[in-house]
Amino acid sequence: MTAVTTDAVTTDTRRAGRWVYGSAVVLLCAWVIVPLYFLLINTLSAPETVNSFPKPFIPEFDLGSLTFFANFAGMLTALKNSILVAGLTMIMSIVIGAPAGYALSRFDFYGKELFRLLILLTRAFPLPLLALPLAVMFIQTGLDDTVFGLALVHTTLAIPFAVLITFALFSGIPLELEEAAWTLGCTRLTAFSKVVLPLILPGITASAIFAFVISWNEVFAAAVLTIENRTLTAFLLQNLDTSPLHLKFAGGFILVVPALIFIFAVRKYLFAMWGIANR
């Protein structure tokens, strides 16, 4: 008799527990999505609606704000600059970073710990601040206010991640595979390009995308190092005080969209990358 009632009680608490758990998940999802939805409403509304009160809670699908954004002087150039800088950052950080990741995963060499320390050290630093002295150095070398100069700084931000992520990826591929290729007549290089590279390529793409996002989102160094050739983030930041609301929201939306796509594209690698790269 008592056993039955306790059973009933536990199923009841368990059901209540599951209900609380489920609603907490939904609530936390809403916490992430609802602010994004508000931005979407503002972006897809006419400039007049964006500045009016009270706000509608469904978008009216008017492209007025986005057209205004596209026609705003300098905005499209800023967008182009952002893409260029992020693209360059992506290429440089992988080309420079991946070999080091390979070296860390495959070789034991004197000074390995020191090298790892150098990589990890960059993490304890607010790196964008280093844009301040670089501004002077860039003026001396003619790199000031160029897309390439900014890409160099963004590469510094992205490279520690590129090294650690590729290190994790290469470590996931057994050395035996390479050794087997060597015994079958491959050199180190052909074994790498024919055996390791195809296996690693999706992961490399994911970390390249990660580098792209790091650069795309960076504000401080971009604002410090560019004057004429502003990136989208720097442009928006500089015009925060003066630009109308609908311009801010449309700009914010354009900033968010690639991020959404990229996170979706790399979601499979997100945890593998972070989990191992951060130990």
Binding site: L28, I96, G97, F125, L127, N278
Partner: protein, 281 residues
């Protein structure tokens, strides 16, 4: 190629790059901070710390970090444990929760501006509920609490994901056997969390906290978008010294102060959460 030389050839590009764009600028910024043209001096630091705004700026930055980071840690731990026992829809929920990871701080500031702005959604909602009949200007100097709250919410919204990802990856590495054993001995879920998850998660907690705390001291664009000059923070002042006041010596000094705080907190976190020698999962 010689197998003994190969690793050095492979790490050479990164090493050169980091020397040129990380160590060298660090030396430059230190030199800039400690000189005003002639020899070693602390004038820049005196100027920066003597400015009336400095204590406010410092207090704001530290207060914001102190308010935001613990909430984010708790939230990230909660989300990570929730995701851990999820069976259906894990991937979808994780995708949604990690979306803010890709969103820039400037965009996050703009997003929360859409809510807290005078004609924004918070006002619209309050209006719909009949709490106010005309829009209230929330983000003004008369409402420092609301400005602080808006910045806090935007930061929590944006940057919890980075901790979540690290913690989820960390929890995934904890062997399931420990939990099974604890369950056999009758440990409650809360006990299991306290006695197994937390201690074994220490390395991940370390990384998550270090990354997050450093980013918290770097806060800049969120504040610029939401508070503007209403809520001065260290990074924003550095930017102002460099551009509005054209005083790069002072900017460098302030940069070094931010650097020093970051390093001090990194060391504290590493020390407090250190993994005992020889202990591994």
């Amino acid at each position: 190629m010689n197998a003994r030389l190969l690793p050095y050839v492979l790490i050479l590009p990164v090493t050169l790059f980091l020397c040129l764009f990380f160590l060298y600028p660090f030396l430059l910024v230190s030199k800039q901070a400690f000189s005003t043209g002639a020899g070693f001096t602390l004038d820049n630091f005196r100027e920066v710390t003597g400015y009336w705004k400095f204590p406010i700026t410092m207090r704001n930055t530290l207060l914001l970090a102190a308010a935001v980071v613990p909430i984010q840690l708790a939230l990230a731990l909660l989300m990570a444990t929730m995701v851990n026992k999820m069976k259906k829809g894990r991937d979808l929920v994780l995708y949604v929760w990690t979306i803010p990871l890709g969103i820039s701080d400037l965009a996050a500031g703009i997003i929360w501006l859409a809510i807290f702005d005078q004609s924004g959604f918070l006002n619209s909602m309050m209006n719909g509920l009949g709490l106010v009949d005309k829009p209230v200007n929330l983000l003004t100097f008369q409402n420092p609490g609301i400005v602080f709250l808006a910045i806090m919410l935007a930061e929590i919204w944006r940057a919890t994901a980075i901790m979540l990802v690290i913690l989820v990856a960390g929890i995934g590495l904890i062997p399931k056997e420990y939990y099974e054993a604890a369950e056999v001995f009758g440990a409650s879920p809360w006990k299991r969390f306290l006695r197994i998850t937390l201690p074994l998660l220490r390395p991940s907690l370390q990384t998550a906290l270090v990354l997050r705390v450093i980013l918290a001291f770097e806060i800049f664009a969120v504040v610029a978008a939401l508070g503007g000059t209403l809520f001065p923070v260290l990074m924003g002042e550095t930017y102002a010294y460099q551009f509005d006041l054209l005083n790069s010596g002072a900017a460098a000094a302030l940069a070094l102060i931010i650097l020093a705080i970051s390093i001090a907190f990194t060391l504290i976190i590493l020390r407090v959460l250190r993994v005992p020698k020889g202990a591994t999962i």
